[in-house]
């Protein structure tokens, strides 16, 4: 196949047919809304409301706690019930603002007003993005306004929309591209206004032919934008591998930023959020969530207000048809396993995937036979088999020497391992240990 891609990668069962053809349903929250103060990389936001305060849709309730941080915006109108620790998807317990929904959805002034982005200055656009509390919605949660403010904006020659959606089972980005492609292209045009030397590229896996067709039609008369179909292969949507595929071979390592390769990369939902904020004065208060898996009664896609309880989202999809053995926030390759659904939808939530069978438990670990499949599939070109040997001895120095810190935790090695060894899991711990060690030294 002549399509662009990277070296390595795997082909897990896609499972997208469960929800790919289900249009996005708007769902309204039922109970209280929970807004954790840390929904992004960087310093937690600082609450600027107190118990008993009235809030409106679109009102800022916590402000960025530093340069790398982001505001938190209320997605409903109602009363602040308190600020208390709450469980979130990754298992940690975070300080969160609890808002009681009055069900009226009264908005702040100017909410939803149309705006002509071409009349805005670059700084104005960046400020709007910051005000809207937008962070990378693909999972990392890096504050978008920071990403849009590289050291040298003239050195950026690619603005890349990550539309690969390589994670199995997820269809939220696909639905957005099918239903609101003009918003995606609009958001990209806003971004291109910030970078005079850049061209916009929408990188999308070729397993979404209809979306590709739709977008190609839409950008026909946009000289600065092109659609770049990519091979369907996990993890094609990994930022570094997407850059490699789209730019024809630019590589960045784990210590570099996309801007070091002249790129700004944002995923579909983030670009749409930029459009909503800049052109429609709507801050980040919604997320598209795929509810899927063989345990779910009616797998489908929802537009959900941030802070909504996962239980409500599941209920909207008809609940369970079979008892699940595993529930995941996100997809099966990189998602977080859940032990409770009493958690809020956050900026980086993308899906709720529930399986009746846990493939991890069903495949017991056996001895490594040194088959080398982990090396063949590793998109980071490291040596998982040897890194695992280092991890088993907790040898941090050897782990670093083997470029263990270049692991992107995509899980390809663990997926392919015929001995079913928990490679990625060990690497995550080792990487944390190495980082803790570095902090201690610093």
């Amino acid at each position: 196949m002549g399509l662009s891609t990277f070296k390595g990668g795997v082909h897990p069962y896609e499972g997208k047919e469960l929800s790919a053809d289900k249009p996005i349903q708007i769902m309204f929250p039922k109970g209280d809304l929970v807004y954790p103060l840390s929904q992004h990389i960087g310093a937690p936001a600082k609450p600027i409301v107190a118990k008993g305060d009235k809030v409106l849709v679109g009102q800022r309730i916590a402000e960025a706690g530093g340069f790398i941080s982001a505001h938190v915006i209320s997605s409903v109108s109602g009363t602040v019930k308190g600020i208390e620790p709450r469980l979130v998807a990754n298992g940690s317990i975070l300080q969160s603002i609890i808002v009681e929904n009055d069900g009226e959805y009264k908005t702040v002034e100017g909410f939803g007003e149309k705006r002509d982005y071409t009349k805005l200055s670059k700084q104005e656009i960046r400020d709007i993005v910051k005000e809207a509390g937008i962070v990378g919605l693909g999972g990392a949660g890096f504050p978008t306004n920071v990403k849009l403010t590289p050291k040298d904006e003239n050195a950026i020659d690619y603005v890349i929309v990550n539309a690969a959606e390589c994670e199995p089972y997820l269809t939220s980005d696909y639905r957005v591209m099918m239903e609101q492609p003009e918003k995606l292209v609009g958001g990209l045009k806003v971004m291109l206004q910030l970078f005079d030397n850049a061209k916009g590229v929408i990188g999308i896996e070729e397993n979404k032919p209809e979306a590709i067709k739709k977008l190609q039609e839409l950008v026909k008369n946009e000289p600065r934008i092109e659609v770049c179909p990519l091979q369907t292969k996990y993890p094609q949507g990994g930022e570094r591998f997407l850059i490699y595929a789209v730019t024809g071979g630019r590589e960045i390592n784990s210590t570099m930023l996309p801007a070091d390769a002249g790129c700004v990369v944002d995923n579909v939902d983030t670009v749409v959020a930029i459009y909503n904020a800049v052109c429609e004065s709507t801050p980040l208060i919604r997320k598209i969530i795929t509810v899927t898996g063989d345990a779910v009664a009616n797998p489908q896609n929802f537009e959900v207000r941030l802070g909504t309880n996962y239980k409500d989202v599941l209920e909207a999809a008809g609940g369970f048809k079979k008892e699940p053995e595993k529930m995941i926030s996100g997809g099966p390759m990189m998602g977080q396993a859940l032990f409770s659904l009493d958690i809020p939808v956050m900026k980086n939530s993308s899906a709720l995937t529930c399986f009746t069978k846990d493939e991890v438990a069903a495949n017991a670990e056996t001895a490594c036979i040194r088959c080398g499949r982990c090396i063949d599939v590793c998109p980071g070109h490291v040596v998982p088999q040897m890194m695992m040997a280092a991890a088993e001895r907790h040898d941090l120095a050897l782990f670093e020497k083997l470029n263990g810190m270049e692991c992107c935790e995509c899980g390809s090695c663990t997926f392919i391992c015929p001995a079913h060894r928990p490679l990625t899991q060990a690497f995550k711990e080792m990487r944390k240990a190495v980082m803790a060690e570095r902090r201690k030294k610093a």
Partner: protein, 314 residues
């Protein structure tokens, strides 16, 4: 909820490939060679292979039972070792010799070093070499399938003493030799299956055979028939596709596999053309097994973003 949820770190899905089905694929791939062996040398060769397999699996079971380790005989690795060893035996060998070889392969070479994945020598080959040294005459008495009598010399020995052998006979397998090594075509069918199933890559066998062919052409005879006969004779095909590719005892890095194949080609050529014996594949592979950690050390891949040509911005 009655049932507790499973919570584990991502990824939450696994591919369908497992150690077991890899091992069974390797076993299946040896079946054409086994069938050819039985057709050529009679039912006795099937008994030899069956006895070797049984000996390997029983040794594994007994050792693990005695050491109170989990019993792993169903993973197929002892079956594969047994088949390789059995196919490396002359058809007329007294059955107790390959059985002893099986015990040696599994207990001494594999289990004493820690079991599956830990041995640094190919168990079947180590056992073959052990038997070759210990029972030299039984191990080198080959039946000529044409006459059913003991053959005077293997094709390689004929070539070594300056004689000519038609390469087509070696390719098809109408020659004296061990049960499994005689028919290149039967072995290549199995090899194609392994390549198709992506159990092995062409890196090791390809570089091995190519390097050896070049070596034989330069230092042997500048004659196509000679080179082809060398390639298809003496277990080179069997060794290249089924023994040199053994995961445990070959380099894990892609570049290392190429280096490994080249080393094998050169050593096999040296042993066959300049050495005392006409054979060389088994010793070459075992010798290169020892080099594996060293080869891996110098052939680590460059991590993504660390040294690529287009590294970073323009």
């Amino acid at each position: 909820m009655a049932k507790l949820l499973n919570v584990s770190s991502s990824p939450h899905v696994r591919s369908k490939v497992s150690t077991k089905n890899i091992m069974y694929d390797v076993a299946i791939a040896m079946v054409p060679a086994l069938i050819w062996g039985v057709m050529q040398f009679g039912i006795r060769s099937l008994i030899v292979v069956a006895a070797t397999v049984a000996s390997c699996m029983l040794s594994e079971y007994a050792f693990e039972k005695y050491m109170k380790k989990p019993i792993t005989i169903t993973d197929g690795s002892a079956l594969v070792t047994g088949m390789i060893l059995g196919l490396n035996m002359p058809p007329s060998i007294p059955v107790w010799i390959p059985c002893l070889g099986g015990v040696f392969a599994i207990i001494i070479v594999k289990q004493l070093y820690g079991g599956l994945g830990q041995n640094w020598m190919n168990p079947a080959l180590a056992a073959r070499c052990f038997l070759l040294i210990s029972f030299a005459s039984s191990m080198t008495q080959f039946t000529d399938p044409a006459t059913d009598a003991i053959a005077s010399a293997t094709p390689l020995a004929v070539m070594k003493s300056g004689g000519e052998v038609a390469w087509m006979d070696l390719f098809i397998g109408k020659i004296p030799g061990t049960i499994g090594e005689v028919s290149a075509v039967a072995l290549l069918i199995g090899a194609a299956y392994l390549l198709y199933k992506k159990v092995i890559s062409i890196r090791i066998p390809g570089t091995y055979i190519l390097t050896f062919a070049i070596f034989a052409f330069i230092f042997g005879r500048q004659d196509v028939n000679y080179v082809l006969a060398q390639v298809f004779g003496g277990g080179l095909i069997f060794g290249a596709f089924f023994m040199a590719t053994d995961y445990v005892t070959s380099p894990i890095t892609p570049k290392g596999q190429i280096v490994f194949g080249i080393c094998l080609g050169i050593l096999t050529g040296l042993f066959r053309i300049f050495g005392g014996s006409a054979e060389g594949v088994s010793y070459a592979i075992i010798f290169c097994n020892i080099l594996v950690p060293l080869i891996e050390k110098v052939t680590l891949p460059t991590a993504f973003g660390k040294g690529g040509k287009k590294n970073g911005s323009k």
